[in-house]
């Protein structure tokens, strides 16, 4: 178990920089998920921690030791790859035990430890098989076993679940979480799936275009997104975002078509007059008269509820409404939004506006509960 | 294509590649350089260092009608042998690819001739096509003196063309078949739905799609006809009759090792090398580019 510290870490390939200076501290035993769309530099970051990519600038230390120039094998990290990268010519037992063989452990000792790890992953009966004879889920377990057996100081996961089907993915997610609770090994987990991030993480690092947008607990990033990017990326659907002009005297945001959206002046005392982006969760919108008027587009059926998509002031707004609603395309709808739930962002930078009063958002429905487990 | 994951031990990298580099240096680059040196020098009759003669050797070679005869024969030989074996192989591959019952047998037998040594093929063809014994001699019974490769230059030439084509048919067949099988099934099915029959599909769909393979094979076949033919010529006709089958490689061998004229042989080698390099270059540069579908 070891803490990891990243200081101003950059990565360039030739002249293109793909990671633009990342600072991050990961406590010993923490499970941190790096979340972002493909090409945001999250895998590169992970691979730099692993020692698979050189670090262009900055510093990475593991357990207080700067590892910039250390080879992968000297860093005490174990890694699970997206395509598992199992050695196709070795049996499951040989795959899991390969690092021990390299480390020069005796055959007996290897067998014992492989046996233990295999048992904990339910792989005992497959030990003599080759990877080609295993299902996707079983291969995934072998990859995890190969990582676990080294009793590493740090676990690195590079989108390990994205090659699994939906059901298996949910099951493996639970297992990874359990494994972490049992071993409490410092873990870095890279994914592009926000549900995976929300369910697994102690803390989430949201990355975009090589920059860290926000670091925080799943609750934090869901309830208090630091930028419109995070707001739109986290949650299904993401935060509704409407452009408008704030009037701090009256506590309203005037939308592009002149309609007014109220916000809590007590929560945002320092907002001046001027352009802002107002955001609110789909879950806080109510279908009720005398609210924001818009035009109904279509509804997504979720079973217990519906996602109503409508256009308001030329922008799309989604409402999460329980029960069935029957509307036809083009019909007028009216959405009521609780002013206390409205969040404000800078219109030009997309950053969350400063000067927000303390706690807030206690009333928001629990983030974890919103995510299908 | 490049590897992302590499190792950084440069001494190891050098040690790993050293044996190969040493071998190609000693047995490829140095000899090739030396050939160039010999081609522009002459060994004095009474010993001593070679004397610089510039392009004199090339001039001698190019002024020799026997050399041009050899060039002409080599090119004609390459053309006929290549066309014959490619044509037969393409037709066979197209029909085997229809996968009618029994097609597996052909897959496993057609390439066998390619496994045979050129001189063995030469010996076999010499017997089969011998004018007074063997298989074809029967024809001379019906039409006396119609066929005699030992005396008639055209007969001898036809003989080596057939032998060379025969060895290459199997090889070409394998490549054509592999190319045909890599055409997505759906393409064929789509054209069947569009109303194209079997032969029509062969002509409109399959042949154009294996064109890249065809051009690749043309170069391979031409090179092979320059190189592999030595064994055939040496055993069947020994360049005769009257130099009717005096291919370039065979002439180099005769001039250099029987006539002991290294300078002349070296100059001819250089010309042949240049010819083959140019051919390969044409393949990479132009043909591959024009007939690539992606």
């Amino acid at each position: 178990m070891a803490e990891i510290a990243l200081r101003g870490v950059r990565k360039s390939y030739g002249k293109t920089e793909v990671v633009h200076g990342v600072d991050l501290d990961i406590a010993a035993g923490e499970l941190v998920v790096i979340l972002g769309p493909s090409g945001c530099g999250k895998s590169t970051l992970l691979r730099m921690v692993a020692g698979l990519e050189t670090i262009t600038a900055g510093q990475i230390s593991i357990g207080g030791v700067v590892v910039n120039r250390l080879e992968p094998r000297q860093r005490g990290c174990a890694m699970v790859f997206q395509n598992y990268a199992l050695y196709p010519h070795m049996t499951v037992a040989e795959n899991i035990g390969y690092s021990l063989k390299i480390a020069g452990l005796s055959r007996a000792e290897r067998r014992e430890r492989v046996g233990k790890v295999a048992a904990s992953l339910g792989l005992t009966e497959f030990l003599e098989r080759k990877p080609g004879q295993l299902s996707g889920g079983q291969r995934q377990r072998v990859a995890m076993g190969r990582a676990m057996i080294r009793e590493p100081r740090v676990f690195l996961y590079d989108e390990p679940l994205s090659n699994l089907d939906a059901r298996l993915r949910v099951a493996m997610r639970v297992e990874i979480r359990k494994l972490h609770q049992r071993l409490a090994t410092t873990t870095l987990f890279v994914t592009h799936d926000q549900v995976e991030a929300m369910t697994l993480a102690d803390r989430i690092v949201v990355m975009n275009k090589g920059v860290v947008e926000q670091v925080g607990t799943p609750q934090d990033v869901y309830n208090r997104p630091e930028s419109t990017y995070v707001a739109g990326f986290i949650g299904a659907p993401g935060l509704n975002l409407l452009h408008g002009i704030a009037d701090s005297d009256r506590g309203v945001v005037t939308l592009r078509d002149g309609q007014r959206l109220s916000y809590d002046r007590g929560r945002w005392p320092e907002v001046g007059h001027g352009p802002v982006i107002a955001g609110f969760r789909a879950e806080v919108v109510k279908l009720a008269p005398a609210g924001l008027a818009g035009r109904f587009d279509f509804a997504e059926e979720l079973g217990a509820a519906q996602l109503i998509h409508a256009t308001i002031a030329g922008e799309t707004v989604v409402a999460h409404v329980s029960g069935a609603t029957r509307l036809n395309g083009g019909e007028p709808v009216s959405f009521v939004v609780d002013p206390a739930e409205v969040q404000l962002f800078d219109a030009s930078t997309g950053r969350r506006l400063a000067g927000e009063n303390g706690s807030a958002v206690a009333s928001a429905p629990g983030a974890r509960a919103m995510v299908p487990a | 294509m490049e590897k992302r994951a590499t190792f950084s031990n440069l001494w190891l990298a050098a040690a790993l590649i050293a044996p190969q580099m040493l071998l190609i240096f000693v047995f490829f680059y140095w000899p090739s350089g030396e050939a160039l040196y010999w081609a522009v020098t002459l060994e004095p009759p009474f010993g001593g260092d070679n004397e610089w003669v510039g392009l004199l050797n090339f001039q001698t070679v190019f002024e020799d009608p026997k050399y041009w005869n050899s060039v002409r024969i080599s090119i004609t030989f390459a053309f006929f042998a290549t066309a014959l074996s490619l044509g037969v192989a393409a037709v066979l591959a197209l029909f085997v690819d229809r996968r009618l019952p029994g097609h597996q047998i052909y897959k496993f037998t057609f390439f066998l001739p390619y496994a045979l040594a050129a001189p063995a093929v030469g010996l076999a063809f010499r017997f089969i096509f011998s004018p007074d014994a063997g298989f074809v001699s029967a024809i001379n019974r019906l039409y006396p003196d119609l066929w005699n490769p030992a005396l008639d230059g055209y007969d001898a030439f036809a003989l080596i063309v057939m032998a060379q084509a025969w060895t290459m048919v199997g090889y070409n067949f394998i490549f054509f078949l592999a190319a045909l099988q890599s055409i997505p099934r759906t393409v064929n099915e789509a054209s069947a739905i569009d109303g194209a029959g079997v032969l029509r599909r062969m002509w409109d769909i399959q042949l154009p799609l294996i064109a890249p393979t065809l051009f690749f094979l043309i170069v391979i076949n031409i090179t092979d006809s320059f190189v592999n033919s030595f064994g055939i010529v040496d055993i069947t006709t020994a360049g005769g009759p009257a130099r009717a089958t005096d291919l370039m490689v065979y002439k180099i061998y005769v001039d250099g090792f029987q006539g002991k004229d290294y300078s002349l042989a070296a100059a001819q080698s250089i010309v042949l090398m240049v010819l083959i390099v140019v051919l390969t270059f044409i393949q990479f540069r132009y043909i591959e580019r024009r007939v690539h579908y992606s």
Partner: protein, 298 residues
Amino acid sequence: MIERTPILDFMTHVLLVVSFVALLMPMWIVFVAATHDFHTVNQVPMPLMPGSHLFENLAAAWERGNFGRVMVNSLTVALGVTGGKIVIAALSAFSIVYFRYRLRMLMFWLIFITLMLPLEVRIVPTYAVAADALRPFQGMLDFAGFSIDLPEWNLLNSYSGLILPLIATATGTFLYRQFFLTVPDELTEAAKMDGAGPVRFFLEVLMPLSKTNMAALATIMFVWSWNQYLWPLLVVTDHQNYATATMQLQKIVPGPLFGEPPVWNVAMAANLIVMFPPVLVTILLQRWFVRGLIQTDK
């Protein structure tokens, strides 16, 4: 696909059967000729069914061609070339694909160019080197102005002379390279994470994965080196000890202007002996052979 083309199907079968017969006919005739006695084989037209003299013809050919000795020579050369190629090509391909160094591309092209010029087109100069394999180094020393005299290392009439120049081409290197490029990077990275260095990775991961490619390369190289003809003809003058099987064919075939009818039955028996090993290898290992053919030339 439902397609009813009975006439075309019939024609296809006819075409394929005829081609089958035509393509295998030469081999059949060689075999038949090797089974008859001297008189029968020289009949016109010759019989197309085998006779009963196969073994005495084989015995006669075996003796006349000194095959007891030359088969061993050919086998030694073929195995030497095959083994050498497999090892040397694997090492150099590993170096080119898995390491980054400045001269890498130069090395790549230096090796690549050797693909273009087969030994047959550069026999004259290669022969000179074979007469003294240290000659290139002597040449370089002379050029650099050193007056050191290296000993002479004559490769004529030796197994190394028969084997080494045949290894000095790039076929194998390219086969390995193509394959190495398809090995996923993650596998290398996983091995690195497991603590494997380059040598371990090469021996324990890359080589086991290359097994099928090695088999393909081995079959093709064995057949190719067994069938070599021109080069052995040049480097071997001591026919008693170093002749290879293919060379013996030249001796067995009678001169074109001989008065007496040639002994075709024995000649064809000798031909059978020479053909046998490569044909056996290609039939037994035809999967690898076909695969090797397709891969070595791409």
